[in-house]
Symmetry: C2
Subunit: 237 residues, 2 copies
Amino acid sequence: MAGFSDSYHLQIGALIFPGIDQFDFTGPFEVLSRVPNATFHTIGLDTAPLRDMKGLILTPEKSLWEVPPLDVLLVPGGAGQVQLMEDASVLSFIRQHAAGAGIVFSVCTGSLTVAAAGLLKGVKSTTHWASFHLLEKLGAIPVNQRVVVDGKFVCAAGVSSSIDGALRVAALLRGDRIAQEIQLYMQYAPEPPFQSGTPETAPVEVVAAARGAVSALTATREAVIERIAAKWQNGRK
Amino acid sequence: MAGFSDSYHLQIGALIFPGIDQFDFTGPFEVLSRVPNATFHTIGLDTAPLRDMKGLILTPEKSLWEVPPLDVLLVPGGAGQVQLMEDASVLSFIRQHAAGAGIVFSVCTGSLTVAAAGLLKGVKSTTHWASFHLLEKLGAIPVNQRVVVDGKFVCAAGVSSSIDGALRVAALLRGDRIAQEIQLYMQYAPEPPFQSGTPETAPVEVVAAARGAVSALTATREAVIERIAAKWQNGRK
């Protein structure tokens, strides 16, 4: 995969949408906007400003139809991802660019959008811990790792894993040395103040509270995915 | 410091500006927009959309003059921070809100802006590694830690340390349990792909390249800081 020459100008594009988790996008933006000899495109369903799950205003600069062929397609997640899984324009955009891209990089529940486009069947993948059980319903092979690379597909798990994933993508694009320079610029030598970053390590009450907080959204996500899977099943008959 | 009751509605405000490093803001936004019973204000010099160092469009929702008294003031950094250090409106805004705030949270070179407002004299502080030597010129006490807490002042070092700092701030505001829930939501169990996050750990050539890339900006920053320090010196005579 990848293996671009340094003189080749890379086209990197990220899909943003209402209800995105902004960090799934801004984390990778911080890394990938610093890859040498590359243009970063921020792509929306249209070019209207939109709000993330918590109200942050983000502004796309290109609509789905204005994007040149991409070498890297970034698909973030977040609550608003649920609608995208049944949005024919979005699924078609993803399929079209994924076909030519060297890397399809999903973050968090963005992998479920890529999976809904039918692209992760038999592909090793991951997603946010609360949605991990949903991946296989769309034919993906779930792997409980922070970053999973399978061919052209790079999947990062929940939210902040987007940084680890983006540094991996930068290294695939331009080599370890460039990724290390970006890491140093970002002073990325993390020191989490608590051991609470995964369901396996967080205190039991914290896991219960966090699961409770996302349970309604996870149920909605599951219902949509069951519908898509059923449609695929019927299509196959 | 801090110690707000759960029933007290917190006002959290972040200053954004042209040439900000977006991650210094969006990292903490991800954490602090999830603190219970709080409003997060995104504050600009005016309310016009602006671009970060790498072109990301961010949109403030309030100008400097439209902000209620803040309990938490977040001051991010980035290349555009240089201008703010001599901007009387910004310095006055910072002094005014810092006086009443329970927490003044600076990220990256944002601490130099807070220092230029005269607020870090004799205060333990940190900043991005490339500007670390500049802190003491503005009277701060530099401490080479990722997050430094001294009284109401919380300083995070470069860029990505904003996450560690923001989780500390969340814990100060609402207790460890809330911070742990936010950490779990964000799946913040980092696995940097390289040992390249600090000048002490990165490969020598990587440090040299990264220093070279920021040297012009650091020199400009230093010139402005020398000018401010000289003004203070003359004022004292």
